[in-house]
């Protein structure tokens, strides 16, 4: 379980003052959830997810993963924490000079796993994401959807219990989006991995999430079960994201 309380991240701005990206965020993500965080561009959702593996150091507040406070992790503890959380990015962020297999094996290489073991694991993961025969290719030889599959395989390499997805389908067409979302759902079901997924598209939430938080102007305006929120959106921004347009306004 991930419990976030009062999480705030403020950046110093050139010429004095601060910019608050997220403020007083309270969130609970249960094990096995596919938790959507939805909001418009600049709402702070990317900052929020980057705080969870401390790519961003929060200014205030607490993040507990399975009861352990992580915001204070430094040095070796921080690296160990990150090795247990997979991450998937909008632009895939694969190493262009490495083969697909070596890309998937990179987290294991970093964790100090020996070559034979990491190759076995990487091959197994490529099978899982449906790219078993592409291991010797390079990222530039694959389509966007295939590259995202590679990056999902990579995120799974270290047997994480949590995967953070930052707009994983925003660079993909709608057909490819569906196949990537299906893959994430399958992984969630088969491996029991908790997934936190950042998106600006309500359809992504609709298709795979069981719980959702709506973030607007740095704060969470509502959260709950996807079915409830979709059926009874309380906030204006949620209605907007749901595509309810009031033409009279």
């Amino acid at each position: 379980m991930i419990k976030i309380q009062g999480l705030t991240k403020a950046y110093p701005v050139k010429g004095g003052g601060t910019f608050t990206a997220i403020e007083g965020i309270d969130l609970t993500v249960h094990d096995g959830d596919i938790f959507g965080i939805i909001g418009m561009s600049g709402a702070g959702k990317s900052t929020l997810v980057r705080c969870i593996n401390l790519l961003e150091q929060p200014t205030q507040g607490s993040i507990q993963i399975d009861g352990i406070e992580v915001t204070a992790a430094r040095g070796k503890d921080l690296l160990a924490l990150r090795r247990k959380i997979g991450m998937v990015f909008q632009k895939f962020n694969l190493l262009m000079q490495r083969t697909i297999l070596d890309n998937v094996a990179l987290p294991l290489e970093i964790a100090g796993v020996d070559r034979a073991a990491r190759e076995t694991r990487a091959k197994e993961l490529l099978e899982l994401v449906g790219l078993g025969d592409q291991g010797s290719k390079y990222p530039a030889q694959l389509s966007g959807g295939q590259q995202q599959r590679v990056s999902i395989a990579r995120a799974l390499a270290n047997h994480p219990s949590l995967i953070l997805c930052d707009e994983p389908t925003s660079a993909l067409d709608s057909l490819t989006t569906n196949s990537i979302l299906k893959l994430l759902r399958d992984i969630n079901r088969q491996l029991g991995v908790t997934i936190i997924i950042i998106t600006h598209e309500i359809s992504v939430v609709e298709k795979i999430c069981n719980r959702v938080a709506v973030i607007d102007s740095s704060v969470i305006v509502e959260q709950g079960d996807v079915a409830d929120i979709m059926a009874h959106p309380q906030e204006e921004i949620t209605k907007k994201l749901l595509g309810e347009v009031s033409w009279d306004a």
Binding site: L55, M87, Q97, L106, P107, I110, P139, A140, N158, L164
Partner: protein, 227 residues
């Protein structure tokens, strides 16, 4: 025409050959040492930037400032400035040996900036991905930054080498040996125009070879190109 050529080579062939070898020695030795020193310096300049993977503002400013200092002095001035230091270091101020210390000192900051620029081209998202995997700073440098930047580092290598070649020609002014020295002593001082042309032609050929070899290597190793 042919007779004139064979007469020219009979008279100057050995000398041209010797000075070509000297130039090659100066360029090679300088390039190797400039990269031994400049590559780590360039890596440090890149990773200690405010948006780098190991931000250290003060360190970055100081090293950056020293690098700029080294680059702001024209090579000829630097060489003269360093004469006594060179003598102390290698026991002579002239010849190939005397030219190498100032060449290295001048080329190192140049190489450092070339390396820094190549590393800056590596997508910051890829570095962030490595960070998210729990990679240490050295792991990111050796597993991500340097391998991802390799094609660009190769092209930078050719630019550095051609620049160093140009420096060796300047070093000829104070008797460093090599083709630049030849062009000045024979071509300019003794007005043997054919010697000037011969030196220039060999220098041009060298530049072409360096450029082609490194460009080919860079293209060959770059996996971003679809096959």
């Amino acid at each position: 025409m042919l007779e004139a050529l064979s007469a020219f080579f009979a008279q100057y062939g050995d000398l041209l050959w010797q000075e070509t070898i000297d130039t090659l020695i100066m360029v090679t030795v300088t390039t190797v040492f400039a990269y031994v020193l400049g590559l780590p310096l360039g890596v440090l300049l890149n990773i200690t930037r405010p948006d780098g993977i190991w931000p250290h503002k003060g360190f970055n400013s100081v090293v950056g400032w020293i690098t700029n200092l080294g680059r702001s002095l024209p090579f000829l001035i630097l060489m003269i400035l360093l004469l006594d230091f060179t003598k102390l270091l290698v026991g002579t101020k002239i010849g190939v040996l005397g030219a190498i210390p100032p060449l290295i000192i001048s080329a190192t900051p140049f190489v450092a900036r070339m390396v820094e620029t190549s590393l800056a081209e590596v997508d910051s998202g890829v570095q962030e991905a490595a960070q998210s995997m729990g990679a240490t700073v050295p792991q990111i440098v050796f597993k991500v930054l340097l391998p991802e930047a390799m094609p660009s580092l190769m092209l930078g290598g050719s630019i550095s080498m051609v620049t160093i070649l140009a420096y060796t020609a300047i070093a000829g002014v104070i008797g460093a040996g090599g083709l630049g020295d030849l062009a000045i002593r024979y071509g300019y001082n003794r007005k043997v125009a054919s010697m000037m042309w011969a030196s220039v032609i060999i220098l041009v050929i060298m530049v072409q070879i360096i450029q082609s070899v490194f460009s080919l290597l860079s293209r060959k190793i770059d996996k971003r190109i679809r096959l």
